[in-house]
Symmetry: C2
Subunit: 241 residues, 2 copies
């Protein structure tokens, strides 16, 4: 039996962003046989799917599930009638829940991950949610993840047979700088990733959205050179002009 | 303000089957303003989508979300490599979890319903799951629904604001005969519905699958004439030849 055959399987959600790339590297470092799952959900930043393909190259398998969140609407990320907001500073994230929130997105993504995990007989799902720099999304909170795990264990054959599903969130208490430091230690190539909510067709980051600011501030705080390609200098001077 | 405007909104999952048609009628009878949601998920029995359109005519709005559960696989209902089993008797359902189980299907369906509910500012979701004649699907059990409701209330803006989501399962403790009697009382036209896992292109039921047997036995026990069109007489003589 190969070494890979003895490893526990895990489904890892891979968006092509910095967080999920780090999550995949951490799952692999923990010894899991990783099955990467991405979604083509009508997002504006479709360039992130190309990033997901690059990030997932190290996984045993990578599937992209096509789904249409536009049928539901309600978010700047999937609804062209709502503009992506630009903040004037990286420190300034919206006080409430931002318009970039996609209704029930993580619930839907985790539901698919659960389905694939059941087919693979995998009892582990990794998701790179973060409760520190989380932009106020309700479905990034630890209490949501705990509730999803409890539900997932009842939803499946494994649950009926008394075996639970475990949702791993290795980033949940890490700052963006901690994430970048850990990923750098594990050899993650962050040039392959994209975080921006509103990149240009060449994949260059807008330098103005919350995700850009959080990312740039993270590289700065981690003391790691920022490999991100920007369309213009960062607004409010996160990096030197 | 119209009467409809004063009603609480509810998202109702409508498959085109007997159970969801009854659920929609019950939600309407309880005074909810109903938004019907169906899924085009690569099911073999696509004829059920036409039935869903007929059933949902009484709802305020009907959306069909296209999604591809074949990308996950693992079920006779979506994977052409797995045959739909024929039982020799309506009493004989599989002892364990049948191959017609679609991994995480109700979790995925409810996740979409949750997303649409959030956009609609609806705090009610109706699903026609049943724990009596449930064919052994883990995601039809009351404990699964309770866990999903707990998770859903944490997943959304409403949850953050302290308002919960309620998952209504009005059929959960009803026998198939009870469901048919209640639907008949409310004026449901069961000719519009289809329950069969393996209908022919004309929409006629196979008369052999578990769903056909449960349905036929339900009409028989309810003392209601069965309006179902079958391809052939019911196997094992649930009705007279």
């Amino acid at each position: 039996m190969s070494t890979a055959g003895q490893k526990a399987r895990a489904v890892v959600l891979v968006s092509g962003g910095l967080d999920s790339a780090t999550t995949l590297a951490m799952a692999q470092a923990q010894g899991y046989d990783c099955y990467a799952l991405s979604f083509d959900y009508g997002q504006r930043h479709r360039i992130e799917l190309a990033a997901a393909q690059r990030v997932a190259q190290g996984a045993r398998e990578h599937r992209v599930i096509k789904l249409d969140l536009r049928a539901i609407g309600g978010s700047a990320l999937t609804d062209s009638a709502i503009a992506v907001p630009k903040s004037s500073s990286g420190e300034e994230t919206a006080a409430g829940i931002p318009v970039t929130y996609v209704p029930a997105r993580n619930t839907i993504f985790l539901a698919y991950a659960l389905g694939w995990a059941e087919v693979l007989a995998a009892r582990h799902i990794f998701i790179g949610v973060n409760a520190v720099d989380y932009s106020g999304y309700p479905d990034c909170r630890p209490e949501f993840i705990a509730a999803f795990q409890a539900m997932a264990s009842l939803a499946t054959k494994a649950g009926v047979e008394g075996q639970g599903i475990r949702i791993h969130t290795p980033l949940i208490q890490l700052s963006k700088a901690d994430i970048i430091r850990e990923g750098t230690r594990l050899g993650v190539d962050y040039r392959a990733t994209i975080s921006c909510y509103d990149p240009d067709p060449a994949g260059r980051a807008c330098a103005g959205c919350d995700a850009c600011h959080l990312r740039a501030a993270g590289f700065s705080a981690a003391g790691v050179a920022d490999p991100t390609r920007y369309q213009s200098p960062l607004i409010a001077g996160q990096t030197a002009e």
